[in-house]
């Protein structure tokens, strides 16, 4: 069972410094929780660029291509329709649907892709056991890290030495 160590900090700078310090110690499952955007948090956590834009691009291209091919097959080959004397395969008329399907595929893929990447749906998380952690959605700046049980106490001590206002350890019951 791993342990979550959560620590509250008074200001942005010590919070980010603590994240950098723990990362330098070799910890990998770090996260920051704040009610406002934290400038520089990506760098402090050592986050890589998100994969979502690439997924969206690929999905959008697949959507656009399938949108075009679908129309070309339906009204160009399977059931040719004469619309005002235009050829059955009329590219300008196909563009709006091609565009819309590209957007639709990209949007739905991002939506459900993020669900998957974030591990949603998830109704509860061990750190919610810490009553004080609620301030993370009001005015508190929090750091959380998942560690092996024997490292939990040393990590808590380390966080206190880095200037944490309060530190709690919670067990991952799941």
């Amino acid at each position: 069972m791993k342990r979550y160590v959560v620590a509250e900090f008074a200001a942005e700078a010590p919070l980010l410094d603590a994240a950098r310090a723990l990362r330098a110690d070799g910890q990998t499952e770090l996260d920051l929780h704040s009610p406002v955007p934290l400038h520089g948090s990506d760098e402090a956590l050592g986050l890589k660029r998100s994969i979502i834009p690439r997924i969206a691009l690929v999905a959008g291209l697949i959507g656009a291509v399938s949108g075009y091919v679908m129309q070309w097959y339906l009204v160009g080959i399977a059931w040719p329709i004469n619309v005002g004397g235009r050829p059955p395969h009329s590219p300008p008329a196909f563009i709006p649907v091609t565009f819309e399907l590209g957007i639709l595929f990209a949007a739905l893929t991002i939506f459900f892709g993020l669900f998957k990447l974030w591990g949603m749906p998830r109704l509860h998380h061990p750190v919610f056991e810490v009553e004080a952690f609620r301030s993370a959605s009001v005015d508190g700046l929090w750091l959380s890290t998942a560690v092996a049980p024997e490292v939990a106490e040393p990590t808590a001590a380390r966080l206190r030495s880095l200037g944490a206002l309060q530190v709690e350890i919670v067990e991952d019951a799941s």
Binding site: P37, H39, R49, G84, P92, A93, I95, P96
Partner: protein, 393 residues
């Protein structure tokens, strides 16, 4: 802050002015031999460079309307671009003098049938005196807005405080509807009326979309060009400013494609005799290849390039895309205007080049001339510090 009063640029003014004057002189000489070609080439160059000045004015108004803080660092340059509008009012004179050579509604003696009918029907609007009065109104509105916005901004350099910011915001916001209307009608008058039969209600926004995009391209190129000069705004832009300009470039590349395609698709699908000939000339002849080139060069290539975050944050590579888009924008206007005198297919004349360099040269010289004597950034704008620290999440 090392923003100082700008006193340099003498060499640039001399060189650009000389090249511009030579270009205009050669175009005038060409006009003696072939006034139709010279005026059409001149019109393309005129609406290309004028569009950038108007795009800058509208962008400035939009920034004031949205109380934008991040662009304060580049605002002085942005508000100097529209100060070239008085020059364009002067440069309009050759068009006014030679309008009978390219605007067929001025002298309908050779016209028959449908064209004659259209000219007679539209006579209350398309007549020379009203055309000139309208042009005067456009320039008065544009020059008044541009001059006041910049005057108050410069006054703030010594006065400071928030009062002048409030004035600029009020005028910038209130002017936007008038700028939109005058720009639309100017595009109807100067480009759409080349063929009196043709009409498209979104023609104004088509010219605007390309011009607005070109304005961002100019901002990006200027930022990249002045990066090494500590006295200029380009030096003070951080990667996030450049990134934001790049995002605008991407957004308005897509916007141009959306507008250009919408206009084409609606007219193509309706296929009614009044509208469709304009596109038949531009798609069913060798001009159609230029149209396909535009779809690729003005949309597909820059769009996919600009999706890259790294490219948008790199001033030099972003500037390269911006130069490419300016070229594509010129081809776009060429494709809109030139089929009027060359129906059979694309035709390149050396007057296209001399007119382009001529108008652009004198406009650049005039722009740098107007930059002299004032600070290169709004030094006492209350939001300058915030703009310099710009860091979006």
């Amino acid at each position: 802050m090392t923003a100082t009063t700008f006193q340099g640029g003498r060499r640039l003014i001399t060189m650009a002015g000389a090249v511009g004057a030579a270009g205009l002189g050669l175009t005038a000489l060409g006009g003696l031999a072939d006034p139709r070609q010279a005026l059409a080439s001149y019109l393309v160059a005129f609406v290309f460079w004028l569009g950038i000045a108007l795009g800058a004015l509208i962008l400035l108004g939009a920034f004031h309307a949205s109380k934008a803080r991040w662009p304060v660092v580049l605002r002085r340059f942005l508000e100097t671009i529209p100060l070239t509008l008085p020059l364009f009012a002067v440069l309009f004179i050759p068009l006014a003098l030679g309008m009978r050579h390219i605007f067929s509604w001025v002298d309908p003696s050779g016209a028959t049938g449908e064209l004659l009918h259209a000219i007679e029907y539209k006579r209350p609007y398309l007549n020379v005196p009203f055309f000139l009065v309208r042009a005067a109104i456009y320039f008065v509105v544009w020059i008044a807005v541009a001059t006041l916005l910049r005057r108050w901004s410069v006054r703030q350099d010594t006065e400071g405080g928030h009062r002048l910011t409030a004035w600029q915001r009020r005028l910038g916001t209130g002017a936007l509807p008038f700028l939109a209307l005058t720009l639309s009608f100017a595009s109807f008058d100067w480009m759409m009326s080349l063929d009196p039969r043709f009409y498209s209600t979104m023609f104004g926004i088509y010219w605007f979309a390309g011009s607005f995009l070109a304005c961002f391209a100019v901002l990006i190129i200027a930022a990249a060009a002045t990066r090494a000069d500590p006295g200029q705004f380009g030096h003070h832009l951080n990667a996030d400013h450049v990134h934001s300009l790049g995002k605008f470039l991407l957004a308005f590349t897509a916007f141009w494609a959306y507008i250009a395609f919408s206009q084409f698709m609606l007219i193509w699908i309706a296929n009614i005799p009044e509208e469709i000939p304009w596109y038949v000339v531009r798609t069913d002849s060798p001009w159609g290849r230029v149209g396909i080139f535009l779809a690729v060069a003005h949309f597909a290539i820059p769009f996919f390039l600009l999706l890259s975050r790294d490219l948008k944050r790199n001033p030099r590579r972003l500037a390269a895309v911006a130069v490419w888009l300016l070229v594509a924008h010129f081809v776009d206007l060429h494709w809109v205007i030139m089929p009027r005198i060359h129906e059979a297919g694309p035709h390149f004349s050396w007057l296209d080049l001399t007119a382009f360099v001529g108008v652009g040269g004198v406009a650049l010289a005039f722009l740098v001339f107007r930059m002299r004597g004032v600070a290169t950034m709004p030094v006492r704008d209350p939001y300058l510090e915030e703009s310099l620290r710009y860091q979006p999440q």
